[in-house]
């Protein structure tokens, strides 16, 4: 059997970084640190997308999640952070422990599910094999364009209307807020 070591290494490296920084993001003391860790996570998921052959998605992910979303967040943090970040650390209420337990159960359940289906399926190699090769290197772009404009045409148009509505809505809300501030 062939082992693509490079791919393996890259995958495990990226996965480790993702998990580590995600954990850091939720356990950080200061919000800005957690935001930056989140940015790192998004960046490395873009790397995972690359591994999977979705170049375009990776770039879009970087453009939006690494650049646009942090800007929004930083604006929000900038205007609303209070000095004492210690107060808003993690809660130690019962939901902490219960959700930890529940998450653990979920994790184990899903692993068990997958493991049993793995043991059932005789042809495991089919699922753990390398991904298939594209026909030509433009195929991805072809498919995406085709998807956007023929399969998901309606979704595309509706989504643009949605974006329009969002923009209008946010500006209206700000106008109302300004008027009530006066």
């Amino acid at each position: 059997m062939e082992i693509d070591i490079l791919k393996t290494l890259i995958f495990y490296g990226f996965a480790g970084v993702i998990i580590f920084f995600a954990l850091y993001s939720i356990f950080a003391y200061r919000i800005l640190y957690s935001l930056l860790a989140a940015v790192v996570v998004f960046f490395f998921t873009a790397g995972i997308y690359f591994l999977l052959g979705a170049d375009y998605n990776a770039v879009i992910q970087i453009a939006i999640y690494v650049i646009a979303v942090p800007i929004l967040f930083v604006l929000a943090i900038m205007f609303t952070s209070d000095k004492a970040d210690k107060k808003t650390y993690l809660t130690l209420q019962p939901r902490f422990y219960f959700s930890f337990l529940a998450a653990g159960i979920l994790f184990l359940a899903l692993i068990y599910l997958i493991a049993t289906s793995l043991s059932l399926d005789s042809n495991v190699a089919w699922l753990t094999s390398k991904q298939t090769i594209f026909i030509n290197k433009y195929q991805m772009f072809n498919s995406i364009a085709e998807g956007f404009f023929s399969n998901y045409g309606y979704a595309f148009v509706l989504f643009s209307i949605l974006l329009l509505v969002v923009v209008v809505g946010i500006s209206t809300l700000n106008l109302i807020k300004e008027r009530s501030d006066d």
Partner: protein
């Protein structure tokens, strides 16, 4: 004439309507006028009286006429409970008695109670009692009798405890009601057992509700289906009801205490009608009791015992109404004695006569008590003959009559005595004579103490009004002439089974009259002359304290029964209530848990959803593995 019998159910419903009117009127403050209450009540009773007379005239002309009209109101497959009227000779006689005495007592109490502030309530209760008694007399089967039996007991409770602010009145009414309930248990048990036998064993399931139309058949069937012992037990159960209602030996203590109620109540209920309900029940169920000698002797012996001991008690009592109460008790005992010894007509005749006599005596006592400003002790009365002449004359007539010397009492007593001697129950006859002597003695004692002698008060007692005098005079007239009007025809009228033996009443007359005159002489000597009455200490104590039976019952109720009640209360409070409280606590606890879950914090809601999701997945996984393992096993 037949119209009166066809619509006789209206006689029962009219007083009920007046009762509802009075009660609702008081509740909504609509009817407060005394005149309206009185007029309505009197009209309802007069209506009943007219119907009773009409029915009576009709029944006299057509012998062996029985009218029965029932509506079935409860149907369980083929067990059908009826509600209706049953009119035959006995019903009509009782109807006449009840309506006339009711009418006169209501007339009397419209004047007697006019200063009482709960006048309307009194008349409401009187109407309720009227309704119950008329329903009892006209009921068509034993279950309906039981319903009205209870109602009569309730009215008695309400009327005895009429002045409910007095603790002695509360206690007396409770005692009366509880003793009546003991009897009711027996009556209900007996009824149900008879009904069971009729339903299970005989193919005629319409007998299961014991209608009085078929009482002869029921008696024969019952005697055939049961062993002797069971039959006797059933009869004793039924008799328990009659004994409690008519205050016979073990359950007689409530009647004397029932004098706490106003005097018209005593006149109506505890002399003439309610206590006669027991005798009426025995008369109705006579075909059942006749079939067993033991039961007949049982009735007679209990009656005799009651007559003797109550007469014994009456000799030494000092409260005017109590003397009359024990006299009633004693006469009821004589009625039971007569019924038990086979003198059916005699017993019933004595019932009718005694009803008029006793109510008249009670009404006279009411007048006396009223004029002496609520003085009830006989030792402080005397010499009232000059001040209350009408009362004195009526009372004298009553005493003479009840002693069996003249007038109607003579005829009734002779009828009983004659039947007793004819049927060769000599022991009963001797007991009867003994009771007669005591009757004469204490009645005349009371007469001499109250009406003769010197007047012991300061001012003259105020004269009774015309209405009061009128009522007792009417009753006096009745009591004089009833004896003459109904003589042999009474026996023919009420005899069941065509057993028309005419008792010769003049042979034993000499014995009884001489015995009574002896008693009269004794009373005259002791109470009308200067000779002091002899007081034998032990006998006096026993009589005055009524054999300590009251104290004995009190002891049992307080010590023994009270402990049982405490145990039951404890069980009820902690176990039964505990279960209820536990369920309420469970509900409250669940709601507390759920309200704690509403934290208002969206993160906790997220946590709930995560937990839920985890459970769902775990469940799915579990189901998945089961399906897979079974699928694997199945595939092999």
């Amino acid at each position: 004439m037949e119209f009166f019998i066809q619509n006789i159910h209206t006689v029962v419903l009219f007083p009920l309507w007046v009762f509802m009117l009075i009660i609702i009127g008081r509740f909504f403050n609509v009817i407060q006028s005394k005149k309206m209450t009185t007029i309505l009540t009197l009209i309802s009773t007069l209506y009943g009286l007219i119907f009773a007379i009409g029915a009576f005239l009709f029944i006299i002309r057509t012998p062996d006429y029985i009218f029965e009209n029932s509506y079935s109101f409860l149907r369980i497959q083929d067990y059908v409970l009826n509600f209706g009227v049953y009119v035959d000779n006995l019903s009509v006689i009782m109807l006449l008695v009840v309506t006339t005495i009711s009418f006169i007592v209501q007339l009397y109490s419209s004047n007697y109670m006019k200063d009482d502030k709960s006048f309307s309530r009194f008349f409401g209760y009187l109407n309720l009692f009227n309704f119950s008694m008329l329903g009892l007399v006209l009921s068509s089967n034993l279950f309906q009798t039981y319903v009205f039996w209870e109602l009569v007991g309730v009215s008695s409770y309400l009327l005895i405890g009429f002045w409910y602010k007095k603790p002695s009145a509360q206690a007396a009414s409770k005692k009366a009601f509880i003793m009546n309930r003991i009897g009711d248990c027996g009556l209900l048990a007996g009824t149900i057992v008879i009904s069971y036998f009729m339903y299970q064993y005989s193919s005629l399931t319409n007998l299961a509700t014991i209608p009085f139309v078929n009482i002869n058949d029921i008696a024969n069937y019952l005697y055939a289906y049961t062993t002797d012992f069971v039959f006797v037990i059933i009869c004793i159960l039924l008799l328990l009801g009659a004994f409690a209602k008519s205050a016979q030996f073990p359950l007689h203590t409530w009647l004397a205490d029932a004098m706490e109620g106003p005097t018209p109540v005593s006149a109506l209920i505890h002399s003439a009608t309610m206590v006669a309900a027991g005798v009426y029940l025995v008369a109705r169920l006579y075909p059942i009791f006749v079939l067993s000698d033991f039961v007949m002797h049982f009735i007679a012996i209990i009656g005799l015992i009651t007559a003797l001991i109550c007469g014994y008690f009456a000799i030494t009592q000092n409260d005017f109404k109590r003397i009359l109460a024990y006299s009633t008790n004693s006469q009821l005992g004589l009625m039971f004695l007569a019924l038990g010894a086979g003198a059916y007509a005699g017993g019933l005749f004595h019932l009718v006569v005694h009803a008029y006599l006793k109510s008249m005596l009670f009404l006279c006592s009411g007048i006396v008590i009223h004029s002496l400003l609520e003085q009830q002790d006989v030792r402080f009365m005397g010499g009232l003959r000059k001040h209350l002449p009408v009362t004195a004359i009526c009372y004298l007539i009553g005493c003479v009559s009840i002693s069996g010397l003249l007038f109607s009492g003579f005829f009734s007593k002779e009828m009983i005595l004659g039947s007793l001697i004819e049927q060769k129950h000599y022991v009963y006859a001797v007991g009867f004579l003994l009771a007669a002597i005591m009757t004469v003695f204490y009645m005349f004692r009371s007469y001499f103490l109250v009406f003769e002698g010197k007047f012991k008060g300061e001012n003259a007692p105020h004269k009774p009004s015309f209405v009061l005098n009128f009522s007792i005079s009417v009753l006096a007239v009745f009591s004089i002439f009833i004896g003459f009007l109904v003589n042999h025809s009474f026996e023919k009228f009420v005899e069941i089974g065509g057993n028309t033996t005419q008792t010769n009443i003049f042979n034993p007359a000499f014995i009884s009259i001489s015995v009574s005159l002896m008693g009269l002489l004794l009373a005259w000597i002791f109470y009308n002359t200067k000779i002091k009455p002899i007081k034998i200490p032990i006998l006096y104590q026993l009589s005055y304290n009524r054999f300590y039976i009251d104290n004995f019952y009190n002891f049992i109720a307080e010590r023994i029964y009270y402990i049982i009640c405490r145990v039951c209360y404890f069980v009820d409070k902690y176990f039964v209530d505990g279960v209820v409280k536990l369920s309420a606590f469970g509900v409250r606890g669940t709601s507390w848990v759920f309200s704690k879950m509403q934290t208002g914090n969206f993160q906790s809601y997220l946590a709930y959803s995560l937990i839920f999701l985890a459970f769902i997945f775990a469940g799915l996984m579990f189901a998945y593995t089961i399906i897979i393992t079974w699928g694997l096993i199945g595939s092999y």
